[in-house]
Symmetry: C2
C-alpha cells in the first residue's frame, strides 16, 4: 500500500465513524464532502513520514493520528470559508461546504470534524494509553487557544497584530503538530521535532503566498489574492517573486538540516525535498531554478 493510499484509507475510516447509525443524513454527507476527496494531504503525509522514520511500531495509532490531524485541517477550511471569514464560494475545485449545503451545515460540519478528530484518537487509546493521551494533548494545543490555528485565525480580528504569533499559530501550528504527532505515534518525544514542523510551515506559507500571487482561481480551486484583499502579511509583497522563492528554498534547506537523528532520517529528508519541489511554483521567469 502506498503512503497516499494508507492516508486515504485512514481518513475514509475516520469519517465513517462520524457517519454511524442514526446520523442526520445531510450532516453525514457534509462531513464526507468536506474531507473526501482532499487536497494534497500534506500534513498527514508529513506525519506519516516522521512516524515511519521513527519506526512506526503502532500503525493503528499512526493512522488515527494522521486522520485526526487532517480532520482538524478540513474543519478549519470549512469554517474559514464561511461568509463571516473569507466568504469563499469554492474550495478544492468544488463549491465550499456552506455553498453546497448551507451555512448552518457548514458550522456544524466544522464542529463535528473537530470533535471527530479527538474521538478517532480516543478510539485507539487501548493500543497505548500514554501515547494517545500525549497525541490528544498536542493536537488540542496546536488547534485551540492560545497557540493553535483558532488563535491564528483570531489574530486577523485583532486591532494590533503580533505577526510572529499570527504566523506561528495560523499556518505553523498544524505543521508542528504533524511532525510531533508522527514522532509521538511512534513512541518518540515530540520536542526534537518542533523545528522541522515550524520550518515546513513557514515554507508552506511562503509557497502559498507565491501561488496566491502567481496563479488564478482556476488553477488554485479557490479565490486567489485573498491575502492581499484582507491585508494579511505576505512574503511576495515583502520580497518580490524571486526573493520569495529564494526564501522558500533557504527555509527548506534549514528544515532538512533540522531533522533529528532517527533510523529513517535519509528517507525523511528525501520526502521534504519532494515536498519542496511540489511547493515551488514554476513561474515563467523562474522555471529554470531547481529547488534544493
Amino acid at each position: 500500500m502506498t503512503l497516499k493510499a494508507r492516508i486515504e484509507a485512514a481518513i475514509a475510516h475516520s469519517v465513517s465513524v462520524g457517519r454511524g447509525r442514526g446520523a442526520p443524513p445531510k450532516l453525514a454527507d457534509a462531513l464526507e464532502y468536506a474531507t473526501i476527496p482532499g487536497g494534497a494531504r500534506i500534513r498527514p503525509m508529513i506525519l506519516l513520514s516522521v512516524a515511519m522514520a521513527c519506526g512506526d511500531n503502532k500503525p493503528e495509532i499512526t493512522n488515527a493520528a494522521l486522520a485526526a490531524l487532517e480532520l482538524i485541517h478540513c474543519a478549519s477550511l470549512v469554517h474559514d470559508d464561511m461568509p463571516c471569514f473569507d466568504d469563499a464560494d469554492m474550495r478544492r475545485c468544488k463549491p465550499s461546504v456552506h455553498r453546497a449545503f448551507s451555512e448552518p451545515m457548514a458550522l456544524l460540519t466544522g464542529d463535528s470534524l473537530i470533535v471527530l478528530a479527538f474521538e478517532v484518537l480516543a478510539r485507539v487509546a487501548h493500543h497505548d494509553l500514554k501515547r494517545v493521551a500525549h497525541l490528544i494533548l498536542i493536537l488540542s494545543q496546536r488547534t485551540g487557544m492560545p497557540g493553535g490555528i483558532c488563535a491564528g485565525q483570531a489574530w486577523e480580528s485583532e486591532d494590533v497584530v503580533d505577526l510572529g504569533a499570527y504566523h506561528r499559530a495560523k499556518t505553523g501550528a498544524l505543521f508542528i503538530a504533524a511532525t510531533q504527532l508522527g514522532a509521538v505515534a511512534a513512541g518518540q518525544e515530540p520536542e526534537p521535532w518542533e523545528e522541522l514542523g515550524a520550518r515546513i510551515g513557514e515554507a508552506f506559507q511562503v509557497a502559498d503566498d507565491l501561488r496566491d500571487a502567481l496563479y488564478d482561481v482556476e488553477t488554485l480551486g479557490k479565490p486567489a489574492g485573498q491575502d492581499d484583499l484582507h491585508g494579511r502579511p505576505n512574503a511576495v509583497a515583502e520580497l518580490g517573486v524571486q526573493g520569495a522563492i529564494a526564501r522558500l528554498q533557504a527555509i527548506l534547506s534549514g528544515a532538512i538540516a533540522s531533522i533529528p537523528s532517527c533510523p529513517g532520517e535519509a528517507v525523511l529528508a528525501q520526502m521534504v525535498r519532494k515536498q519542496a519541489e511540489r511547493l515551488t511554483p514554476v513561474a515563467p521567469s523562474v522555471n529554470t531554478a531547481r529547488p534544493l
Copy 2:
C-alpha cells in the same frame, strides 16, 4: 468548599488554560465572556453529584471532566446563538458572543471551547490514563456525530426529522455525558448511568418547553418562544401546561428510580429532587403543586 464553588473554580481554571501566553486578546476575552458567569451549571452539577456518589477518588479528574463538559455546553450556546441558527441577541442576560464581539469571534470562540474541553482532559491524563481516555471517548461521542449535540442541532436542518434521534442528541446527549462522565471519573463503568442521564435530559427538555411557553424574555435572559418560531416539537404544545408539568414529574420519579446502587445513592436522589423543584415552573394555576 461548596459544590458550586468547586465547579466555578474548575471552570475558571480551565478557561485560564485557554488564555495562556501569547493569546490573541479579543479571543481570550471572548472565551471568558462565553463561560463566566455561567447559567445554572446543571450539567457539571449532575456530573459532580454522580462522581461523589461513586466515591470521587480522583478529584482532579472529576474537576477536569466537569469543566470540559461545561465548556462543550457553552460552545454549543455560542454557536447556536449565531445568525445562521437562532440569531439570538441575548444569552444569560447579556449580549450573545457574536453581538458583544463579532460573528468571526463567536465562531472561533465555539471552536476554541470545544478544543479546550479535550485539552483540559488530556492535561490530567497522568492521574489515570485509562479513565481519562474513556472520558475523552464519551465526551466526543456525546458532542459530535452521529449521536452528540452536533447531530442533534443538525436534525433541525433535515427535511425529514427522526424525532427520537433529535431529542436524544439535541438535549439528552450532554445529560447522559454528565452522569456517565461522573461515574467514569470516579472509576465506575458508564453503562448503568445512561438511563439517569437520559431521563434528566428529557425532564430538562420538558421544563425548557414550559419556561419557554410561560415566561418572557426578561425572566429567561434569552428570547422566548424560539421553539414555536422554528417549528420544533414541544411538550406544552402536545400536552398543555398542566400535562407537561405532570409529565415532568413522572420523568423525574423515573430518574430517581433509575439511580444505580452506589454509596451515595440517597444523596444523589436528593440532588435530583432539588433539581426537579428548580426545574418545575411556578405558573399561577399550578403554584400549589409540589414536585416529587
